[in-house]
């Protein structure tokens, strides 16, 4: 198992390297002068060509691209992501704080989605063709067709604006620092995020369980006189879970995308909103760092998925 994890980690290194190249290249390949992207137009208007040149020199922008790449990478490896051009704060600290906030939304969302999605999937698989199965399956189809931002604005409109059950945005009420207040702000965006993924997990679990319940080893378990509960949970579910785990891993990028939209809609100070704001204001040190953090997060999620997969399936673990 340890060897398996190490091998996976080694495989991730070249991908990670390519990711840093891509992150750098994205900024580099952008048309126009790099200086245009981060220098505030109003400030720039008052600058002479000589001032701009001095600025480029100071930021090392006159060096060739590979040199700048290595310079940037060197900083990143030491945890130095540079300085935000807009927020006058080190990018690392900014990202760390915002990432923590996002993890609350994504964590709650993913937890709810996995628990309810898998439970509903098992429930419907055991009652195939029933009214409950049909209804839940239909709703799940609506769920997977629903993008996060439309679900977000609809939820905000219905539950915050019309019903007034939740605050219309933000993370805390001004001056209030209680857990209850935090949860009150968190719960709507987190639930919206969870519902979309719940639908995906439910469909996969149902599909997988229907397949597994037909397998011969489930017949064997029944023929051994195991109670139905054990046949379903110990014999069918442990096998049925294997593809679902992969699906949970694959859904992490979509989770991040959902967070970008929902944090923007709910004005929640997470990394998603930071990312969006930075894109709009072309705060490129933040964009690069956020891209990198998100990519590492996705790769780490994939790695955890692979490890979890191996933990459930001995055929992989022991190969």
């Amino acid at each position: 198992m340890t060897r398996y994890i190490i091998r996976r980690l080694l495989l991730a290194i070249p991908v990670l390297f390519m990711v840093t190249v891509l992150v750098f290249a994205l900024i580099e390949l952008a048309p126009g002068d790099v200086v245009d992207f981060f220098a505030n137009p109003e400030v720039m208007a008052g600058m002479s060509e000589a001032d701009l040149e001095a600025l480029r020199e100071r930021l090392g922008l006159n060096d060739p691209a590979p040199v700048r790449y290595l310079h940037w990478l060197g900083g990143v490896l030491q945890g130095d992501f540079g300085y935000s051009l807009i927020r006058s704060e080190p990018v690392g600290e900014l990202l760390l704080r915002r990432f923590g906030n996002s993890m609350m939304i994504m964590g709650i969302g993913l937890f709810v989605a996995v628990t309810f999605g898998i439970s509903l999937g098992i429930y419907t698989a055991l009652r195939q063709y029933s009214v409950a199965d049909f209804t839940i399956s239909f709703l799940s189809f609506v769920g997977i067709s629903m993008p996060a931002f439309i679900a977000g604005i609809l939820a905000l409109y219905i539950f915050s604006v019309q019903l007034g059950w939740f605050p219309a945005g933000g993370m805390r009420s001004p001056g209030v620092h209680t857990l209850g207040d935090l949860l009150h702000h968190l719960i709507l965006p987190a639930l919206v995020l969870s519902i979309i993924h719940m639908a995906t997990f439910m469909r996969y679990t149902r599909f997988s369980m229907l397949d597994v319940l037909k397998q011969e080893y489930v017949v064997t378990a029944t023929a051994k006189g195991m109670p139905r509960r054990i046949v379903v949970m110990r014999h069918a579910f442990r096998n049925g879970l294997i593809p679902v785990v992969t699906m949970i891993g694959y859904s992490i990028p979509e989770l991040v995308v959902g967070a970008v939209f929902l944090e923007t809609i709910f004005s929640f100070p997470g990394m998603g909103k930071l990312y969006f704001d930075s894109v709009i204001s072309r705060d490129f040190p933040v964009i690069m760092a956020a891209n990198l953090v998100i990519a590492v997060f996705v790769l780490a999620a994939n790695l955890i998925t692979d490890v979890a997969y191996a933990a459930i399936d001995p055929r992989i673990r022991l190969e």
């Binding site: 037909k214 397998q215 011969e216 080893y217 017949v219 064997t220 378990a221 029944t222 023929a223 051994k224 006189g225 195991m226 109670p227 054990i230 110990r234 014999h235 442990r238 096998n239 294997i242 459930i312 399936d313 001995p314 055929r315 022991l318």
Partner: protein
């Protein structure tokens, strides 16, 4: 002296689907099995032999499966009528089953040991070390070397023959009185087949189990069974002791099956007969004898009327309109 009756099946009829799509997989199946007796049910795939035993075990998928009628008495209880919970308590304890393909029949994510100990836990209330020790001795008994270590391995780490041995250990774990073996050697190499058959024969003697051995292979049947039932398209066509069946087969289908077996006393180059045609599709059975379209002796009666079961000798029955003709020809049929 007749031994005590262990299982008595009468008039079992099982079908799949409903309405115009209904397919009758087993029709009016009846047989008795005495304690300690070995009965073989022989037939081509789709003949209903496996569905018969799975109906009795209550493990056919329902829906689409429906047990339309029949009784199956085991130990005074009708297995087809008792509630699921009571049937469940019998399964794996008094009636156990070994399946054809141990690769797909063993759970890939549980260790072989766990799959045995859970049966011991469920039916005998054994737990922890006691269950583990028992499982090791069971694996040992079925001839798995180094059982104390291999108990913690997964099915995919076992070879095909070893997996089938583990499957057998699982089946005999609670000392069943009836063992149903559903083609347990079909998926194995010939040499391994012989070992598994010897193992089961040995266990049958030491545990005094009744066995229903399902097979399509008459050669295997001859080595293990005392009584044989031949099925064709969901119905019993012949029922006899092994000796009678091989010496004096009565039904043209049985004769055809035997004629297609290679024999040691055969002259080199001698022609092997084979039954022409294909077994019928269960969804479109002819109205009369299902074998009529392939039978060299078939008459108009055969095509429209289901043949009655006729007693040929002591414990020897066949369902055929043309038994007299078979006898006149001394079992030599004009296969084309």
């Amino acid at each position: 002296m007749a031994a005590q009756l262990l299982l008595s099946v009468d008039g079992l009829t099982t079908s799949f689907g409903r309405g115009p799509d209904k397919v009758r997989a087993v029709a009016d199946m009846s047989f008795d099995l005495a304690e300690g007796e070995v009965l073989a049910i022989v037939g081509e795939s789709g003949s209903g032999k496996s569905v018969t035993m799975r109906s009795i075990m209550g493990i056919i998928p329902m829906p689409p499966g429906v047990i339309e009628s029949g009784t199956a008495f085991f130990d005074g209880a009708d297995l087809l009528a008792i509630d699921e919970e009571n049937l469940r308590r019998l399964r794996g304890k008094d009636i156990a089953m070994v399946f054809q393909d141990a690769m797909t029949s063993l759970n890939p994510v549980l260790t072989v040991g766990r799959q045995i100990t859970e049966v011991l836990e469920e039916h005998l209330g054994m737990t922890g070390k006691a269950a583990r020790d028992r499982a090791i001795s069971l694996l040992d008994e079925v001839g798995i070397p180094d059982a104390a270590h291999r108990i913690d391995e997964y099915p995919h780490q076992f070879s095909g023959g070893m997996r089938q041995r583990a499957m057998i250990a699982l089946a005999i774990a609670c000392g069943p009185r009836l063992l149903i073996a559903d083609e347990p050697t079909t998926a194995l190499d010939v040499t391994i087949q012989a070992q598994i058959i010897d193992l089961v024969v040995g266990l049958q003697t030491s545990h005094d189990m009744g066995i229903v051995w399902i097979s399509h292979d008459l050669g295997v049947v001859a080595r293990i069974a005392q009584k044989v039932i031949v099925m064709y398209a969901g119905r019993v066509v012949e029922r006899a002791t092994v000796e009678d069946l091989f010496d004096a087969p009565a039904h043209p289908y049985t004769i055809g099956l035997l004629a297609s077996l290679p024999r040691l006393d055969q002259e080199p180059g001698e022609h092997l007969d084979s039954i022409p045609g294909q077994p019928p599709n269960a969804s479109s059975l002819p109205p009369g004898c299902a074998f009529a379209p392939r039978c060299p002796l078939a008459t108009e009666t055969c095509r429209v009327e289901v043949p009655p079961v006729i007693t040929v000798g002591d414990g020897h029955h066949a369902a055929c309109h043309r038994l007299d003709e078979v006898r006149r020809r001394e079992g030599r049929l004009p296969w084309t």
